[in-house]
């Protein structure tokens, strides 16, 4: 008897046309076709989606949480990237 566990898949659902696919969770399935079938039963029992993506979890590369400061801190000091940084004189509209 083989004791091969089904691989783990990450599931992404598009809730309606025009929106992006969003991560909803994971599940196990023998291959990508069965992963989609299982995802339909596990994650869309109440019309939560119109499209499903599955990606085998081992193919996802994630940033390291301990690098978070180095990666994301520099953006914090660049407030001039936001429109609210600028003064718009009174009386100027549509800007």
């Amino acid at each position: 008897m083989t004791k091969k566990e089904w691989p783990l898949w990450e599931v992404f659902i598009r809730s309606k046309q025009g929106l992006n696919h969003k991560h909803v969770g994971s599940l196990r399935a023998a291959d990508e076709v069965m992963a989609i079938e299982n995802a339909r039963d596990v994650y869309t029992r109440r019309s939560e989606g119109v499209s499903i993506w599955v990606v085998e979890s081992k193919n996802i590369f994630a940033s390291d949480p301990s690098d978070a400061d180095a990666l994301f801190e520099p953006a914090n000091s660049k407030v001039y990237r936001h429109p609210t940084f600028y003064d718009v004189p009174d009386g100027i509209e549509h800007m």
Partner: protein
């Protein structure tokens, strides 16, 4: 790792918790936090899966097609909830198959409520109303649990669970308004499930050694006794509304505190059921073990089919 480093990591970890910043799978966490979560989430997953058995017992005997469709949908939801939770356990590094085997060897526990038998159709009502009601009360605060994947699974579960309670209350209401025999059946189900439902919240706070640490880690947000009191306060008027009597001679409203006072829970019975001596403990675990064994050819066939499909695609 040096001991000093760990102290510093633990301090930063607690700081995040205190600031309501969620912990995600790859973040550093104390071993004890990880172990507590693995234990709690896997027990929760097992409860969802074992919870299918008492209700599955009545699917083929539902009184009409509407009730049958509803019960099927509810039991299918419980399977789904089990799957969300097993996935959450896996994010903590636990092996899925080992987790499931721990249930089968008796190493892991599940909610003791599912060790009671479902003797009549009214039990489907009592379970939905009381057992799912108590579960919701436990699960709503878990939506704000400090561990991200558990909290997200709970949001999904709670959204789905409210129909479970309503369908149960509907069954009880209909029976309570029916013939004297039907009303008696509803009352009997309430009599048998009331106390086990109160036990679902776990031991009294004084006998619950993990509560303080779990609250400090914001895994838990309320103590067992707080949640139990809330459940009694909400449920007693619902029973009165449909003309059923809560089986507790000591139950009385305290206008000063704004809460119901209720009788002493039979903790001997609770510990007996938890330690494996409830009416159905053996049946439940046997059924799960049998399901795994009987399903093994399906899992192997799926693997074989996947291989075949892959080979065909490559050629």
């Amino acid at each position: 790792m040096k001991e000093l480093d760990i102290t510093e990591l633990e301090r930063k970890f607690q700081e995040k918790i205190d600031n309501e910043i969620r912990i995600e799978p790859n973040d550093w966490m104390p071993d004890a936090y990880r172990k507590t979560l693995i234990r709690q989430i896997s027990q929760h997953a097992h409860s969802e899966v074992v919870g299918m058995l008492p209700e599955g017992n009545w699917i083929t005997r539902a009184p009409n097609l509407r009730r049958k469709a509803v019960l099927l949908a509810k039991v299918q939801d419980e399977a789904g909830h089990g799957l969300y939770l097993y996935s959450a356990v896996e994010t903590l590094g636990a092996d899925r198959e080992e987790t499931i085997d721990d249930l089968h060897t008796g190493k892991a526990k599940y909610s003791s409520i599912f060790n009671y038998p479902t003797l009549t159709w009214a039990d489907m009502g009592a379970i939905g109303w009381l057992v799912d009601g108590a579960a919701i009360m436990n699960q709503v605060p878990l939506c704000r649990c400090s561990y991200g994947p558990y909290a997200r699974a709970m949001v999904r579960v709670c959204k789905e669970e409210s129909f479970h309670q309503r369908q149960g209350f509907e069954i009880m209401t209909k029976l309570a308004q029916g013939t004297p025999e039907q009303k008696a059946m509803a009352q009997d189900a309430l009599n048998r499930f009331w106390w086990p439902a109160l036990m679902m919240f776990g031991p009294n706070d004084a006998d619950s050694p993990h509560t303080a640490q779990s609250m400090k880690w914001k895994i838990k947000r309320h103590t067992n006794d707080e949640l139990r009191q809330q459940f009694v306060d909400i449920t007693v008027p619902q029973a009165e509304m449909i003309g059923l009597t809560v089986p507790d001679p000591d139950l009385k409203w305290n206008a000063e505190t704004g809460h119901y006072e209720f009788g002493e829970i039979n903790w001997d019975e609770f510990w007996q059921v938890v330690s494996g001596n409830g009416p159905c403990n053996k049946d439940r675990v046997d059924a799960r073990r049998k399901a795994k064994e009987d399903g093994s050819w399906v899992r192997e066939a799926a693997n074989a089919y996947a291989e075949k499909r892959k080979a065909r695609k490559a050629s």
